[in-house]
Symmetry: C2
């Protein structure tokens, strides 16, 4: 044996982890990289030792991750969905939420896998295309600072499913963006648009994540909700969602996104409520008095409170 | 708020993990499934909390796993390679190795991502096709029980790179199986074949795993080795490899497969050594006395010891 070999250390279940971490970090100068990779190896190895992972289980694991990666398309992020159903997305959201440490600011919620580019629209516009399925719902309110000052020029990115429970990208009958749009608050800090009354829907379950939830016999239905992402140069970004208090799934959300402060009563009116009479709703036929008198209209109202940077 | 909502529990960094584990296991009757999923969630969540994972880091993580999954093809298992370079494969191998608990049995080593179907060949055949690159090397020895009894009829599945450091599936100039074959031990427990002298080679590094190793500034060169997988109905399967003591990378294997007992001296002869004169080598032109006199021949000899079931 050569001199080099005389230094060969036999790796055991006990010393392997230390050796792998050393190999991964000894040439790395970035401290955060060292911290992230060391912790990852330590926890993955601890897991393998703790459950005494069998070769067949290890194989099932890498096959599952491969399948999950291969299931992803530009319109379907199955790996994020996996992170969601394992509560990792909610945990990352929670530990990073400055809002959670404020008693006034609107709390954050998970982004989910269905955010996408959308058109910038004028307040009062409808985010649903003509012939959109579902009941019309006004989505409106203000964006304010923690002092109660209205914030003008904040962008409010809104997205939700169609009334059939599909996001545009999931719906074979939709080509382009639908039920999503980006608005800008006016000088009173107001945003207002016509959306669709949210419905409970099943997270997509024909892929690897669906297979996992089936094995675990877990609920796949999310409570009805509307997603929001708010941005303004002077304030912290906020990704959140508002959930319908009516839903039977409010306490069993498969992606762990619901927080009490984000649960709202969706209200139905048979005429436009006084509050919204100042809104310019000319571009939304379903928000015209005649239509409302005939079909009624739902209202989801929320005043968002942002933290100053 | 409905009655249901009054039960809504706000999830925090502290209680979320318990809630996710409960959600994942409360309908599961299989104890092993419960153990595997609970431990996985606990360790992933602990990791996120410990390193205080940032949203951008989380995003880089799911994007990396997606990319790794999408890089896989029937001929390239990048997810296994990722498991290999993080030492997970070696750990799973080690904790499951019955051989490691015996002082006599041949130790196991990692399978690696390049095992594939191969033809069953007669002892004495060459696993390299005509025109194979590299120096001829006899790979031979016996398969025995821990009592020293020869084991007849054991299958010895052998695979290695070509002399250019590529497995057949990586080599654009190779279509079918090459430098791999399955042999069966004779009545004396012997296996013997003509292979190629193993060379150090770089693990494939043009994909996501290569990107990671580059960030970590890690060695990508594996020490020269030959893979073996041995099976016999009465004995425990053994997946292992033999490593060349000559290699400069014996202590820095990027996939952590080397064990002292698996490091062998590859020997060069200018005529067939006496030991092999009883072998039927008629089907391998490069093992004929004239060729050996001209080019020499390498020898890798190993007696494998299997554990009875």
């Amino acid at each position: 044996m050569s001199k080099e070999n005389s230094k060969l250390q036999d790796l055991t279940a006990e010393n392997l982890t230390r050796h792998v971490i050393k190999t991964c970090t000894s040439n790395v100068s970035n401290e955060r990289t060292t911290e992230l990779i060391s912790g990852l190896i330590q926890h993955l190895h601890d897991y393998v030792r703790e459950v005494q992972l069998k070769p067949g289980e290890w194989e099932a694991g890498w096959q599952y991750l491969t399948e999950t990666g291969q299931f992803c398309t530009p319109d379907r992020q199955e790996m994020v969905l996996l992170s969601d159903v394992l509560g990792i997305s909610a945990l990352v959201d929670t530990i990073n939420s400055a809002q959670a440490r404020s008693s006034i600011a609107t709390e954050s919620s998970v982004l989910g896998p269905f955010h996408n580019d959308a058109d910038v629209l004028e307040n009062g516009a409808s985010i649903g295309s003509e012939g959109v399925i579902g009941e019309p719902m006004l989505i409106h309110g203000t964006v304010k600072s923690t002092d109660g000052e209205p914030i003008q020029g904040a962008t409010v990115d809104v997205w939700e499913t169609n009334g059939n429970g599909f996001y545009d990208m999931q719906d074979p009958n939709r080509d382009g963006p639908d039920c999503r749009g980006i608005f800008r608050t006016d000088e009173q800090g107001r945003y207002y648009l016509l959306g669709v009354k949210s419905v409970d829907y099943n997270i997509p379950n024909e892929g690897p994540v669906g297979k996992l939830l089936k094995i675990l016999d877990r609920n796949v239905t999310r409570p009805a909700h509307v997603h929001f992402q708010l941005r303004h140069p002077d304030y912290l970004d906020l990704t959140t969602a508002l959930y319908s208090s009516e839903s039977d799934h409010i306490t069993t959300d498969p992606v762990f996104g619901v927080k009490t402060s984000l649960v709202k009563d969706f209200q139905k009116f048979d005429r436009l409520p006084e509050k919204v009479l100042g809104y310019d709703l000319r571009s939304s036929p379903l928000a015209q008095p005649e239509s409302v008198a005939k079909n009624g209209i739902w209202s989801l109202e929320h005043d968002f409170v942002l933290l100053r940077k």
